[in-house]
Symmetry: D3
Subunit: 318 residues, 6 copies
């Protein structure tokens, strides 16, 4: 058995033997064309997600040794399968935290995460809120942060499309805030409203998604959706703040319900203020650039990426 | 001065002299091409809306004798102007309720209204709610009816498109309930949910619109929209009912947020249950048929109506 | 060899050995990655369609023992393959009707069919027609039923989308009639026309599709389409009825040509009467609900189905 | 009173006094802002349509002297009104054919018509049909020409969009035939089918439109539409020809039902043969070029026309 | 005759008598319903555009005293006509520059212009270009500025939609540069490319539009369009710079051809780099905000503007 | 080892043993489900493209004996794999031109090509240009032909969609010229412009694509696109011709930028002249018919092809 530790997922090259610690996020049992047992796996570390497979004997032997959501130690050999990196697994078992920590196992290393540490992002968020001048808006944002702090620090921004990893939510709203505030400064928009809009526009995703290492839609996410869930959450908090001005409430709710920009993208109301136009523009741009960066980060040759079906085009690597 | 009373608006024919009681819903001051004063009016009674105009001397004399939103007594002569009925007004004044009641003035006769009396429709609504078996749904609907009874009895269903008259809201939700329940029976859908959906899908219009003889959008109506306003209102009531089941809450909110059927029509979430499909179908059909009936009710000749720009076609008179 | 009979397709569970009678509706010869022979089959009974495969030796041995469209007796073992039920076949042969009937073979048990018996549905159709008051409409419908009775009893309503099974046509038009008549009663529409529209709107499918155990498009189906084929068929019958009123003829043809509701869905003319609006609404709703039911009937876990690509959403299992 | 005859409509210039013979195709009674009587007219001759108006005294005096659909003799003065030519009418009366013929009245001169004489176009059509090699196709076309010859010679191709004048139908189908046959020769398509498609694709317009000096939609036109009406007409004739080959029938019907090219333009079936693609291309091109020519023919200055709302662009005059 | 000077157009109130200097940008001769002469005018000063009219005698007397494009001195009285400010002109004549300058006439005061002085904006542009680090990009921008400086200082950005006034082009590209550079800083984009994109994306408008007090489309503008015209202009300059890197050339051309963001908005190629996405986002946002500001600047009452047909919504005044 | 030569790709039938000369245009290394080596190949000859595969031992042995872009000699056996022809390769090696020519190897026989010889098409092109009457247009076309003759003779018209083979460019522009000129004759369009448009509309593809046996997009192709590249190329040549009339230049550029017909298909400007409408129509029709012919040429049974996903329909084989 190989004894060297594999590099991180993003740094893998073909034909390496070794082992690593991962989070198992997919485990599909299949039968090969000739009847042999096959297990198809997704193994994740901080830097990316790796396809893996067990064929024949190992698939039979280690089948019940781990489950989806487990941290695992897997041993095997990398190769390119139809142009994408793959690990053929010889041996796999659940992590034994106490024992494996001596070999360097750390949970945080096995979870796909935003590039910046949560604490640093949280600090930036606190600073943004401290700059809010309107006391009602500041109070609102502080209550939201205090009430949902735990989720806000770890949540992904989406299931698959963009910022779909631990801390992605925080990374996304900070980026939107940054863009919206500089655009807002240029156009003389209300900066307090833009800060509120950046922080609150996707707040319903805390109820739309369920995140516990893996991400899935909740019942409310499927049936009610984050736009309405967010509006309800924020209305609740604003109602609890004494004397919250009604016109301010309406403006903030407008930012939430209109942030998808167009009806066909799921906005029940379209932007009717300069702040709402800036917010939906900043939100859309950040989501698209995050997708572009992910596409550019994938291994590949040539000046252009493969066709990106969601964006409907190839992208230039430069 | 003519002394005979004019027939109701829908029954007018050209070249009649006489007077009537109306609600004034439009009063535009203009200057004619040759410099003369002109006032363009809309005068409403229970059966329809009449264009009227004052030219020259009367426009100067009676200009300050009345305002939009006043009940007025107007005297003049009817004619066809570019194919539509019009009243040329010689004399107009505010109604003096005490005195004019002796001449037959009644407020209700001067307001465009649903064909059925409010009490009759309200009774039908109560009966529907009594047939709801689920105690939580019934409690929810009873609270809504008790809290918003006053508005529910008089509200229009829209500003201009369909059921845009006193009592139109109630007329619309009863028609939707009727259709949804018969379709639901055919497809084995949950009838309690359909009753709830019919009553609640447009409930946000009580906050979206302002109605006091004339109808207009509120600030919340423009900035937040009735879909989200309705979801917030209903969430508030459900939260107040002890032990309201969470799955039932989600289903009811789904009916509200998905009732426009498609994203491009302003539904942030599309129907994912048979009940939601039936509700949005019944809602859409009732709105379209109400438009068709209005178009067919307008004076006109020939087997087909003029081109109906909202529906994008002519309609058959049969 | 196993001797027990397998349960019906919808009731199968994994890892059962046994035999069954089926209709073979697909038989694709393939080569495995390692060069072995593989035959991929679709086997149908009254309750559903089952994927099956023969690998290696049995594929060579029994390859010429049966064809598409044959009733077969197949023996093998069930398992889950990539999440869907599959039968790995050891032995297969054509049914020998005389001999196999003693073992319980019945043709009707091997054909995917509407849930209700054809006779019951036919009786309901006859009753609907007896309730038609207009003698010309009744005569028209009776002639259609008498002329096309044989096909009407067995035809599917579509190739794949909805009601794609024996008797699906009849099931669909009865459901459309039921919905259209209750909606029509609520809106004071002409019930005779709605009955005619329900029965005749898809009548061109008798020429568009070819059904003989399996379903396919005819040349006329591809080149002319069921909307126009239906209009031509019905014109032919109406012309043959003495004194058939011309205005009635035009109304019925309007129902047929407009029943897809919108041009982009293939309606050369859009609904211009309340009856046509009700008919296209009832038709569309029934087709969508049938698709939902099929999706909900498929094996699966969790509150929501997998993404339904034709409807463009997941569906709630409740 | 002026005694000189005005030039033809297309050749008019402003500030001419004189008289002319016209077909009156519109007569709207209006009231001016100051209460004076106004009659707005459309007066047509062979070369175009002229707006005309009668104001005050003449409007009262001659109001009952003529009707829509009458040939009239009108006297007045031309000027430019908001950039378009207009005739202010002093005197107008019905034509007295016997007497006015001495002054040069001829019905044909007062009807907006295709530029080429009907006989010449009819001769070209006969020649096209003589070149058809397939005896069944030739027989079909000859029967259609013999049965509908009278209408075919005078019918317009549309109510307003393109070729909306006497003989426009014939002009359009000949142009489509010319284009389709040359394209068909280049691509080796079946020329007989293309001739049939050119002649028959719009044949349903003989029933869709009513033309008797003025053009309007018939009941069948509105409710059934020319695509389906045409398919029914042609099926009737083909059925009457002994031994008409079924595959040929389907091909011809395909050309008719698919000639609008795309579902959203009202084609229930889209082109599935090279002949159908060529036909719909030739039809669309001819309709667009006819619109361009009409726009270019209108009086105007500058290199570009005004914005053409149907085509959605300005056009180059060159 | 009134002797007081009227305030600037944006500051006008109804019922003022007085005179002013204006640029005449529209002069339509019409006939009133009663036959009287009417001239409809548009009169422009630095702050806005005013509708004006001359009726009857003055229309006859002063008709030939001025033309479109002339600076004029007009005397009259303001009033509200259908809710918009209007000047009824008693007397009007061409400006006599020498003499009228003593009364305060200055050409610049009579031309609708960007709010900031051209020199100030030009200085900002020069500074932007000095910050470009890449010598080729800087050289390119300097050549463009030197070659087209005269037009760049005065050009409008569009005919009607946004920044449609003197200096609007410069105002627009500076705003786009500002937004694009701050967004680019946040996303680590190439700032030199963004500066180039902001300056060059609309450069083809210098050939698309003709501006000499009034704005119109050129032949090339209509036939070739500013996207392609700009690409050709910039290619020409880049080719003239020795050793201009080919990859840089392609990137800059990509920014120009993709700046409309989507094919349906006229971009022959869609953004394939982060810089191109940022540029098209900044361009679109600036154009929309300029439209919003114009709508908000128009006189009006209530919290919301009238329906804005290009944006398809009402806007909040706040 | 088999010693007979295989027929050409289009003429292959299953279960043939033999060898052939091909161009290798794809070579993907894969691992089978059981771990065996697999190489998936595309092998091209003049008549078509053939899927091939090497499994196990041969895949290991001959893996490094050839590359993409090589002419190869391959030996093996044909069969049908999932309904498409496939060659299972036993032996493969690079062609040795000198030696293999004795066995009949010719490069031209191994390259997918237009059906007509390049020389014949080139002659037709020269003749077209000689018929151009306008000396400037003729000069322009001659310069383009002389400057780009080498590429023009061999270029494909697209990467995959239509005319995607050696000589396809020339085949396409000749077909467009043929159609455009006959349509132009019918509508009295400027034939010189149509000839220019046919030759030049896709000229940017000489820079958009890279073709050297295989076809790919260039950087300029992806970033700038052939519409703009073509306009720049042609502007360059026109500028070099002394006294080239400006209005002619604008017309020719209009033909290039508008040839995709609609904005959503990538035309930055839509056709504003009859010539531009004819050109875009002829271009679109030729591209569609080429796709239809390719689909009809594929092996298959039945009257209709399989569903063609780009055209969105099945096609009739007749």
């Amino acid at each position: 058995m190989s004894s060297s530790r594999l590099p991180s997922v993003r740094a893998l090259s073909p034909e390496l033997d070794g082992w690593g610690f991962f989070l198992c996020t997919r485990k599909d049992l299949r039968q090969g064309r000739s009847g042999e047992s096959i297990i198809a796996l997704s193994l994740q570390d901080r830097t990316g997600t790796l396809n893996a497979r067990m064929v024949g004997d190992p698939a039979v032997r280690y089948r019940d040794e781990f489950d989806i959501g487990d941290f695992v130690k897997a041993t095997g050999r990398t190769d390119l399968f139809n142009g994408r990196m793959q690990l053929t697994v010889d041996h796999i078992r659940r992590v034994n935290p106490d024992q494996d920590r001596t070999q360097g196992f750390r949970e945080a290393d096995c979870t796909l995460s935003a590039p910046r540490p949560a604490d640093e992002m949280w600090g930036e968020l606190e600073e943004l809120v401290q700059h809010v001048r309107d006391p009602f808006v500041r109070e609102l944002l502080q209550r939201i942060m205090s009430e949902h702090g735990e989720k806000l620090r770890v949540w992904p921004a989406a299931l698959t499309v963009h910022h779909a990893y631990r801390g992605g939510f925080l990374e996304h709203i900070l980026a939107v805030a940054r863009s919206a505030l500089t655009l807002g400064a240029a156009y003389g928009a209300n900066q307090d409203l833009l800060t509120a809009g950046a922080l609150l526009h996707d707040i319903g995703k805390l109820e739309e998604l369920q995140y516990d290492r893996a991400t899935s839609y909740t019942r409310d996410g499927n049936l009610v959706g984050h736009v309405t869930l967010g509006a309800i959450m924020v209305r609740g908090v604003m109602t609890a703040i004494p004397d919250f001005p009604d016109v301010l409430r309406a403006q903030i709710e407008h930012l939430i319900v209109s942030h998808h920009g167009h009806k066909e993208f799921g906005a029940p109301v379209e932007p009717k203020t300069i702040e709402a136009m800036i917010l939906s523009t900043a939100d859309d741009l950040d989501a698209r650039i995050n997708q572009v960066r992910q596409a550019l980060a994938e291994e590949g040759e040539g000046e252009f990426t493969a066709y990106h079906s969601r964006l409907g085009r190839v992208l230039w690597r430069g």
